[in-house]
Symmetry: C2
Subunit: 413 residues, 2 copies
DNA sequence: GCTCTTTTTTTCGAGCCTCGAAAAAATACT
DNA sequence: AGTATTTTTTCGAGGCTCGAAAAAAAGAGC
């Protein structure tokens, strides 16, 4: 049961509101913050002067456009870049990248390297991450503030506590305790997040007008992933990162999926499935391990060009996605969609089939206009979402409690 | 964006905590409440004496078991039955019932009558509801407190604001504005809720240990309904009451559903679908309008007795439910399940097929033991959930704000 | 250049709220 | 009857937010 609300929580939450307002708006004045939060000017004044004294916010004197208005000019508040530093790590099939990022969201240093993830031991994967983070932080040296948080985004299923990678297509190993190992190594809180969830998080910041309280991000790549925001909250499973759209059942006992089961949406709409249908015409053939982007683009070109097995393969893919979305819409109604990843470049080929499938479902009723958006490159989105994840943690869990936290901790000690 | 938290909100929320603790625990002492809410004894003391003064709570002197302990005896706090009155209305196929209920949850008067809902005009349906509520409240007369809330539970889809019945199998008419019409008539806030959501609400109160933060209630009757609780919240659509499990797609372009579409889970697992498969062997036959409970029980008996079309029909039903659950579990992981309604009496026939279907899905992995529970009679659950809905509204929206509300309203006026 | 107006930000006292400690109340034990 | 024990209330202290007023920092007008 939820616990009663104490007096100190009040300040904590209002500090969080102010920080969040600044992160969202960029350089809002105190008056603006008062308006958006609904708190009084005096409260905003005290809170923001506290935050400035603590080095979390800073008055941004320099870059004002100095809009010529009559009275005392507004002074913008901005996040102090030096307040903290976070590290965002993105691990995907055969690739690892990481960046050290300041509190305002500017990348300080970054690195990317290729790995053969599918052939590595679990421990070697973890050590590659540790190594890269160590190199980067040392490269920054004293220049950067203290690292307060590390977030790792991985393709695959993580546990609901964001501590372990439960299963992933990038490695044959299960239950890899990334968070524990990295925390051990760096003494800083760490989370492992699902890549598609990070895409969803990034979309909220990229385009809050479209991606606000309810939307769906679908990653069309070798497999099919989904990031889902419902009622303003990132939707996760009760025990895992959840939202495994690719493994909803499209056709019971149908095509062979990479996961070993049959009839999953992915077994029709994943890159390997499209290739398999187009080239082999056998939906039970063993899925390929990997497939280059060019291969998919070539298939899409062929499908656009003429009727044939390629177009038929994309039809099956679109149908699987459409019926899957229809089933989801039966659960929580239609929402704006973003298709991300290589598959998005071929989405124009699939779209009519997706739409006609949705039209055959309960989702088709409400939705006069379900709108699709496509973004071929998922990498920057994952990176960005991962960064936001870490920064928001610092905002809410470290800076919002402020001295109250330190007081409480001292009390415990 | 969420708004800052003011000083008065604090008291409001802590009052809500206290009320909720009493509703949940029955007759907790102040000390107990302090423990469960985490608030200090002094705070609980002031808040509860306020609530007693306002006639919301009462000290329950009478029925103590007087457990012999050393110190000053605890004095239990209970909801004052006379604090308020609510009306719960349940409208289902060919049946309307309503009850006037006191603040402690005791039924004061109740009435049920049969209607031919499918042949009535929309307005006539609304008027039947109004008439029954009026008769009941008049029957109570001065005996009951003021009615503060009316909740209507209906089979079908309502809008997300719980104002209209968007679609229902009990009537051919759409968009029936129950809430507006009843509010007009009685001058009291009214909501229209989906019956399965009310079942879920009831289960939380019936057995909080099993039905707590995440669970699924599935109504197996003529159609298939679902009530879903995820992370402690009743799951609803963004625009409708949502969670239309019955209209997730089991087989694309498959059996004819009552909704006019094809391949819905309901088109395999609804009573009409089971009957159709067993008796006609034609999954495209026009669905029957209604079917008696006895018919389904007879089919289940036949299926238990010998292999044949009946057993095959239940196999198809179980498979549809199992694959559907598997897809849901892919989205948010397995959760405890309750099967409610006539179909639950036949669940033993379907269970093996349900389980084997789930085992073929992503949900099958995590779930070493997904547990099913069956409750044949849905009516008392719907009634109970509907009552709780209304009572919780009074708790949170009327009694928790308390005088603060009245003050604010006066300020506005 | 000086004063007036306008807008933003800070200051200050009032009013609530929760908390901890101590007191009061109510009962069982001896 | 007195003591121990547990629950509940009382009371002063400390925080927090708010509204009003003051202070600050500009442009506008003469």
């Amino acid at each position: 049961m939820s616990v009663g609300i104490r007096h100190d929580d009040l300040r904590k939450r209002n500090r969080a509101m102010v920080i969040s307002a600044v992160r969202r708006a960029g350089q809002p004045s105190r008056t603006e913050i008062a308006a958006t939060t609904g708190l009084s000017h005096s409260t905003i004044s005290t809170i923001s002067s506290d935050l400035i004294a603590e080095g979390i916010l800073a008055e941004s004197k320099g870059s004002e456009p100095a809009l010529l208005k009559r009275g005392r000019p507004q002074v913008g508040l901005a996040l102090d870049p030096g307040a903290a530093t976070i590290v965002a790590v993105v691990l995907s099939l055969n690739s690892l990248s990481a960046a050290v990022i300041d509190y305002a969201g500017n990348t300080i240093v970054a690195e990317t390297r290729r790995l053969v993830t599918q052939r590595m031991q679990a421990e070697a994967l973890v050590e590659e991450c540790i190594g890269m983070v160590r190199r980067l932080t040392e490269r920054c040296g004293e220049a950067a503030g203290t690292v307060l948080r590390i977030a790792v985004a991985v393709q695959g299923v993580t546990d609901s506590g964001s501590r372990k990678l439960l299963w992933s297509p990038i490695t044959p190993h299960d239950d890899i305790p990334f968070a524990d190992r990295l925390e051990q190594e760096f003494g800083v809180p760490v989370t492992v997040e699902n890549d598609c969830n990070m895409i969803a998080e990034a979309l909220r910041w990229r385009d809050p007008s479209r991606y606000r309280d309810d939307f769906i991000a679908i990653l069309l790549s070798h497999g099919i992933g989904m990031g889902l925001v419902v009622k303003g909250e990132l939707f996760t499973g009760t025990q895992s990162s959840g939202a495994e759209f690719g493994h909803m059942i499209h056709r019971p006992d149908g095509a062979l999926c990479r996961c070993g089961r049959r009839g999953c949406i992915e077994a029709y709409a994943g890159n390997y499935a499209i290739w398999r249908n187009a080239r082999l015409g056998d939906e039970n053939a063993e899925p390929l391990a990997d497939l280059s982007d060019e291969d998919i683009i070539a298939l899409a070109d062929a499908a656009r060009d003429h009727d044939g097995p390629e177009r038929e393969a994309f039809r099956k893919a679109g149908e699987a996605i459409g019926f899957g979305l229809g089933s989801m819409f039966a659960l929580f109604d239609p929402a704006p969609l973003a298709f991300v990843g290589v598959g998005a470049t071929a989405f124009d080929v699939m779209e009519p089939y997706v739409r006609s499938a949705i039209a055959k479902t309960a989702g088709g009723t409400h939705s006069r206009a379900i709108s699709f958006d496509t973004m071929p490159n998922e990498v920057p989105l994952i990176r960005e979402g991962c960064m936001m994840r870490a920064l928001l943690y610092v905002d809410d869990e470290i800076f919002a409690p402020g001295t109250a936290l330190r007081r409480a901790q001292a009390g415990v000690a």
